[in-house]
């Protein structure tokens, strides 16, 4: 026994679907306003079919939805009746063709127009019951053809010999004839509800600290991971909601770099994040939810070394971030600036940059020669130093723990920029070799003169001791 619900125009399809799901898990959404559902077995709960139909209408009305209800032995018959009559229609099993016989032929248009015929021309088989007519070909609706034959009702069409219908209208014509008889084209294909990948655990006693929480998270992640695996899904975003005894919710969201569903990796990532952002009170309820995304399809190569999996890299990144601090781990990235030492950090994701035109490999000055270039060990915060200058050249560098007499000095190499913002630089750089054999890069921070002292932006041409300041930028190594 099947039922069909047909809602008034403007009805929220989600409400209609909710009403249908309250009666049967096997529902098929035909259109935003129309749902068919399998009502088998509901007689024991509600009684006869008419009682079920009344209950359906009452439930829908409680939700603010006005629906037509039709119940018949086949879905096709129920759909045709629900389009034809308002209110409740109940057809006894086995009498569908007889009851449909008097209905007008135009119902076929409402049911689905010429889709079977169009399919027949394309040589495809029907896959869904929702026969939507192509609006661009209104002249091909079967009803127009049938009317030209002098037919007016479904019964008249159903009574035609099937062989003759097939000879004139093809396979699609026979399909339409079966519709006119109220026969189903295929079994009901239940629509799956939107799945929620969420697990919640109410705690008998509030817990404090991460150690007990790790067990709770492990217990929640395991079924979540199994659920994701069964659906071939991976977690794209992990949401953790901790309901605290202070009636507040501590919520964290982790954007995962790749879809993953390994319970241990997810638990570790959640714990590492909570280590950095702990809740400020005891927890009495824990909810873990994930936003699913299609699982990864990985094709390994025999020709390249395997990279660590995204789960391993994510866990490693999270552990390193917890140890070293946020923003201290990742891949360096040169920036488009002349500022000495300028760089940016980006998340370490070795798989993403392979083959990029901007990768470091493309910037090898002379890749065939393999002649190394000298490296600088940079003091991220330049060290202030005392430098004695004679004839405009540094002759002695002194700093606590290092320094000495300058043996060789090359410079000054002048560089400046960003003078239009507060974070400007303006310096003279020197490469100096000291007596201890160490070569430093030092610079003299040049002071900008004010407009009252001369031309705006003009600087003194030569560094003098005591003006600006001297700094050690790094060591050539």
């Amino acid at each position: 026994m099947f039922g069909a619900l047909y809602a008034a125009e403007g009805t929220d399809h989600r409400v209609l679907e909710t009403v249908a799901r309250e009666f049967s898990p096997r529902i098929e959404v035909c259109s935003p306003r129309e749902i068919t559902l399998d009502l088998s077995g509901l007689e024991r709960l509600f009684g006869e079919a008419r009682a079920i139909a009344h209950e359906l209408r009452r439930t829908a009305a409680d939700r603010g939805v006005q629906v037509r209800v039709a119940i018949a032995g086949t879905r096709t018959a129920a759909r045709l009746f629900v389009h034809h009559r308002a209110g409740i229609t109940v057809i006894d099993r086995g009498s569908e063709a007889e009851m449909l016989a008097s209905l007008p032929l135009g119902l076929l248009d409402a049911f689905g127009g010429s889709a079977p015929m169009a399919r027949a021309r394309r040589g495809t088989r029907p896959t869904t019951p929702n026969f939507q007519p192509p609006t661009s070909q209104p002249e091909s609706t079967p009803t127009e053809t049938l009317r030209r034959w002098g037919l007016r009702t479904l019964g008249e069409f159903a009574a035609l010999p099937s062989d003759d219908v097939a000879a004139r209208l093809g396979v699609a014509g026979v399909e339409w004839q079966r519709v006119a008889r109220g026969e189903d084209q295929h079994p009901l294909v239940p629509a799956l509800p939107d799945e929620r990948f969420e697990q919640t655990l109410e705690l008998e006693w509030p817990i404090e600290g991460l150690e007990p929480l790790s067990f709770v998270l492990g217990r929640l992640m395991e079924p979540l991971s199994v659920h994701l695996e069964r659906r071939d899904r991976g977690a794209a975003v992990l949401h953790i909601r901790l309901y605290l005894i202070t009636r507040t919710v501590h919520e964290r969201s982790l954007q995962l770099p790749a879809p993953m569903r390994d319970a241990r990796a997810l638990r570790t990532l959640a714990l590492l994040d909570l280590e950095s952002h702990p809740p400020d009170a005891a927890i009495d309820r824990v909810t873990v939810a994930v936003e699913p995304t299609p699982g990864r399809v990985v094709q390994f190569s025999l020709l390249t070394r395997p990279l660590p999996s995204p789960e391993q890299l994510s866990t490693l990144n999270a552990r390193l971030a917890a140890l070293m601090g946020e923003g201290r781990c990742g891949s360096p990235e040169p920036v488009d600036s002349w500022r000495p030492g300028a760089f940016a950090m980006k998340p370490f994701n070795p798989g993403s940059g392979i083959g990029d035109q901007g990768s470091g490999t493309d910037r090898i000055p002379n890749p065939g020669s393999r002649i190394p270039t000298t490296a600088l060990r940079r003091f991220r915060t330049p060290i202030s130093a005392r430098v004695r200058v004679e004839d405009g050249r540094p002759v002695r560098v002194e700093q606590r723990g290092l320094g000495g007499r300058v043996e060789v000095a090359a410079g000054p190499w002048r560089t400046s920029g960003a003078w239009w913002v507060a974070d400007e630089w303006n310096r003279d750089e020197w490469d100096v070799a000291l007596g201890d054999g160490v070569t430093y890069r030092v610079f003299h921070e040049r002071l900008r003169t004010h407009a009252s002292e001369g031309e705006a932006g003009r600087v003194s041409p030569r560094p003098r001791s005591g003006e600006g300041g001297w700094f050690i930028e790094g060591i050539v190594d």
């Binding site: 390249t304 070394r305 395997p306 660590p308 391993q312 890299l313 866990t315 490693l316 552990r319 390193l320 140890l323 070293m324 201290r328 781990c329 990742g330 891949s331 360096p332 990235e333 000495p340 030492g341 300028a342 760089f343 950090m345 370490f348 070795p350 993403s352 392979i354 990029d356 470091g360 490999t361 910037r363 000055p365 890749p367 393999r370 002649i371 190394p372 270039t373 000298t374 490296a375 600088l376 060990r377 940079r378 003091f379 991220r380 915060t381 330049p382 060290i383 290092l402 060789v408 000095a409 090359a410 070799a433 054999g437 160490v438 070569t439 890069r441 790094g474 060591i475 050539v476 190594d477």
Partner: protein
Amino acid sequence: MFAYSPLGEHMANSALAVLETALRERKLDRTLTTSLPPLERSDPAAVIPFEIAAVDAVLRGGLPRGQVSELAGPHSSGRTTMLLQLLAAATRGGEIAALIDTCDGLDVASAAAAGIDLNRLLWIRGASSGRVLSALSESKDRIVDRALKALNLVLQAGGFGVVAIDLADVSPRVLRSLPFTTWLRLQRIVEGSDMACLLIVPEPLARSAGGLTVMCTGRTTWNDGRVCRFTGLDTGIRVISPRRRVDGSAAVRALANDSD
């Protein structure tokens, strides 16, 4: 007066075999000469080359995988230049590399100029160098401790071709105060893996039996023309290895990075 006895020699050999077997069973065989890798590193996949012909010839192919090696030397000796060359060679070969930069001294421009594929480099930045030089020894200990923990995490994660830790700016006194088991533990983690672990240190430290200890000495070169210019760094490479299985020296000339 002792007389030669074949029976006594046989007993001694048997006892030695039993002892070696017992040590191997307990994984305490690192002190046995028989457990060292063969002299000739014939398998190119077992090493990571620097892609500098003179250096690779001395190292018999490059740094051995699954071992802890060291690049030691004072400031301006070319350690960092050699490190960047190794990282560049590894990333060019499609591997990923990690650098634990204890004192945050990496110059990104130098790394890019060396040819490192920066997408394949995991850079873990410790405290800034300026802080380290001026900080108290207690805080230095903490900085080094944190860097070693990071090194452990990276090695345990696996999958990297080269994992290097830069301890060059840490004073030898602080490094010597670390328990020697620190380096044994590192050796235990990397052995049997495809990773080469490299320490950049001011003086030899770990003395790994299977790894290499490379001493660097450097001299900067200058052009004394009309305008004095820094032109490059001549680095002398000398391999010191326990039991002198790999020994030799080479000279490398690095050119000044004009983009600086």
